[in-house]
Every structure is written in structure tokens, then in C-alpha cells.
């Protein structure tokens, strides 16, 4: 999922300080799962905006709604039903949602309530870790299913580096050396020889270094 965190309230209050009425718009997709921007978090944010504005001596009407997702046109169009109820939308979606509203609703000012952080998962309740960098050229079949792009601090393709100590990364002892884990995991499948294969210099153009990326599926377009 896409993992995100709420922005500091000072930033959000600054965004809406001239508004008379705002719509806090939750997303029931990834940010609900990572407890950053679902309906519950949007209700909390609405309350905090009201309190923050009251403390500043300003009045504001804050309503709260949600969309199934904010990354598809058909759901974004649902915003129109509330168009008379706000001066601006405060989106608790990831950055994709904020961009989609901006792309599709020319007359709607939209502000981001979240900082979008990474593609990750939750192995422990309340904790999320980065697992994928969306680099567009997956090498997981060569690395035992563990991603060196997202999970190696240097995104090395031929690791580990000299900073790996006792299976931990030199940047912090709490960070596992993913290349040590790749080595161990390949070994458990009797595929340690894969570690001897030198990965070629990588073409990063698929990782966004060649500009914004796009996927087109002809079989799905009409």
C-alpha cells in the first residue's frame, strides 16, 4: 500500500486560514489501511481544524466526506455533489489523490493533509516499513523476493557493501542489511550461486529518472 502520515497541524491550519468552509475528504483506499487518511482520521482532522481555527479566533465550517478512492475519475466526479459546501478541499488521500482532484476539478482548490512517504507494509500493528520503490524494473526474482532498491540504503545492485556488520546496515543498527538477508534467503533455497552473478549497470530511466511515467494498456482502452 501507499503509506502516508498527517502533516503537522500548523501547516494545515496555515493552508485553510482564509477559508470559511472546507471539505475534509477521506480516501477509503491505501491511506485508510495505514490509518493516515481514512474516515476516522478525516473526522479527527476536521475536529483539529475547527479547534485550531477557534484558537486563532476565526470561524470555519468543516464538513467531512469520503470517496472509495481518489485515484480514479469516476470517484473524483462524486465531489460535485458537495461543491456548494466548501471553499477548498483538504484531501487526506496520498499525493495521487490531491493531483487527481487538481487535474480533474479545475475550479476546486485542494490542499494535502498528508505527507506521502513510501510503498510499504505492516508486519506489526501500528508500524509500517518500506518494501518497494516502484522503480519499474523489478529484480525480486534474482534477490530472493527482497528488494535491494527500496531496502538497501544505497540501492546497491551488487551488495552487501563494506558497511554491513552482523547483518545490520551501517546507517543504523535497527536497519537490517537487506543484502545479508538476500544472501541468507538464497542460501536457504540452495541458490547462493546467484550472489556470484554480477548485476550490470542499471538503467534507471524506468524509475522516473526519464520523467513522469505512464502505463497504457491497449486491451483496456476503448
Amino acid at each position: 500500500m501507499i503509506v502516508a502520515e498527517r502533516k503537522p497541524m500548523g501547516e494545515i491550519i496555515e493552508m485553510v486560514q482564509d477559508c470559511k468552509k472546507v471539505l475534509v475528504l477521506a480516501c477509503r483506499g491505501c491511506v485508510t489501511v495505514c490509518s493516515a487518511g481514512g474516515e476516522r482520521e478525516a473526522e479527527i482532522l476536521s475536529s483539529l481544524i475547527r479547534l485550531g481555527m477557534k484558537k486563532a479566533g476565526k470561524s470555519i465550517e468543516v464538513s467531512t466526506e469520503s470517496l472509495v478512492r481518489q485515484c480514479d475519475r469516476e470517484y473524483i466526479d462524486e465531489i460535485d455533489q458537495w461543491k456548494d459546501d466548501y471553499d477548498a478541499v483538504v484531501s487526506t488521500a496520498c499525493g495521487v489523490g490531491v493531483n487527481f482532484i487538481s487535474n480533474l476539478k479545475k475550479d476546486t482548490m485542494v490542499y494535502p493533509a498528508l505527507n506521502t512517504t513510501f510503498f510499504g507494509g505492516s508486519a506489526e500493528q501500528g508500524e509500517w516499513t518500506e518494501q518497494c520503490a516502484g522503480c519499474g524494473d523489478c529484480v525480486l526474482h534474482l534477490t530472493g523476493g527482497l528488494c535491494p532498491v527500496a531496502r538497501c540504503a544505497k540501492s546497491l545492485m551488487n551488495g552487501p557493501c563494506g558497511g554491513s556488520v552482523d547483518g545490520r546496515c551501517e546507517i543504523h543498527k535497527d536497519v537490517e542489511c537487506i543484502w545479508q538477508s538476500i544472501h541468507d534467503r538464497l542460501g536457504s533455497f540452495d541458490r547462493s550461486a546467484q550472489m556470484e552473478v554480477i548485476a550490470p549497470i542499471r538503467d534507471w530511466s524506468s524509475a522516473g529518472h526519464g520523467g513522469p511515467r505512464k502505463v497504457v494498456r491497449d486491451d483496456l482502452t476503448v
Binding site: 503537522p8 497541524m9 500548523g10 491550519i13 476516522r40 473526522e43 479527527i44 475536529s47 483539529l48 475547527r50 479547534l51 485550531g52 477557534k54 484558537k55
Partner: protein, 137 residues
């Protein structure tokens, strides 16, 4: 400092049994501050952040939660969950530039105990010293 203090207390059913004693008169007789509006809930673990924030929106100068001892909650982890949410509300208030002490969590024994009134007096004193809250009506 003289002002009309408004404090909202959310207390679990088990730790607020004194509020039922003597047809509800016992607390009054023991000096339970009249600034405190007591809301009994089945378990503090059911309290959401929005419930605590709504109390501030309604004008409370302070909000506190009384639940079971952390290692002896009737619903196992209810009061621990409540404490976590109180911590989250405190952090959010501080982000807004409001004193975090305006929201508190207490873990108290179940049944009839003097600590229930003592903590109420402590909270009344704390908020009185902080002064009127920024959300006061």
C-alpha cells in the same frame, strides 16, 4: 483564578462506581468538584480521539479519562488503548499550541476508592492553574 471551569471526565463503568453510591450523592459529599462533568462509558477502550476532541470543541477547558489499572482492565487492554488515545490527543493539542496538560489519563482501582475524588481535585486544580482554555465557550 476565578472563571467558570469546565472539565469533562470520561470514566469507565467500573472505576466510577462512586458516582452511583448514595443515589449519586456520595461524590458530592466527598467534595467532588462541581466543575467536572462525568460521562460514564462501558470501557474507556471504546473512547475514540474524536470523542475527546469533541469535548474540547464543546468548550471544555480540560478533559480527562479514568480507566482500570493498566494491568487489570476488565476488558484486558481497554484502559491501555484509552491511554494511547489520550497521548495522541495531547500531541495534537500541542501541535495547535495548546498545553498538553489539559488532557490526562488516570488508571485507578475499580470500586469505591478515595483516589477517584483525589484525582478529580487534582485535575480541577491543574486546569484552574492553567487558566481558561482556548476553546472555552
Amino acid at each position: 483564578m476565578n472563571f467558570d471551569l469546565a472539565i469533562t471526565l470520561f470514566s469507565c463503568h467500573y472505576t466510577s462506581q462512586q458516582s452511583c453510591a448514595e443515589d449519586g450523592k456520595e461524590l458530592e459529599q466527598l467534595g467532588f468538584p462541581d466543575s467536572i462533568n462525568l460521562v460514564r462509558v462501558p470501557c474507556t477502550g471504546k473512547l475514540q480521539m474524536t470523542t475527546l476532541l469533541k469535548a474540547f470543541e464543546d468548550g471544555a477547558d480540560g478533559v480527562y479519562v479514568v480507566g482500570c489499572p493498566a494491568d487489570g482492565c476488565h476488558n484486558v487492554k481497554g484502559s491501555i488503548r484509552a491511554a494511547k488515545r489520550v497521548d495522541a490527543v495531547r500531541a495534537a493539542l500541542e501541535e495547535l499550541g495548546v498545553e498538553g496538560e489539559r488532557v490526562q489519563m488516570y488508571h485507578l482501582p475499580r470500586g469505591l476508592h478515595p483516589e477517584f475524588v483525589a484525582k478529580a481535585k487534582e485535575m480541577d486544580s491543574r486546569i484552574r492553574n492553567l487558566g481558561q482554555g482556548p476553546f472555552s465557550n
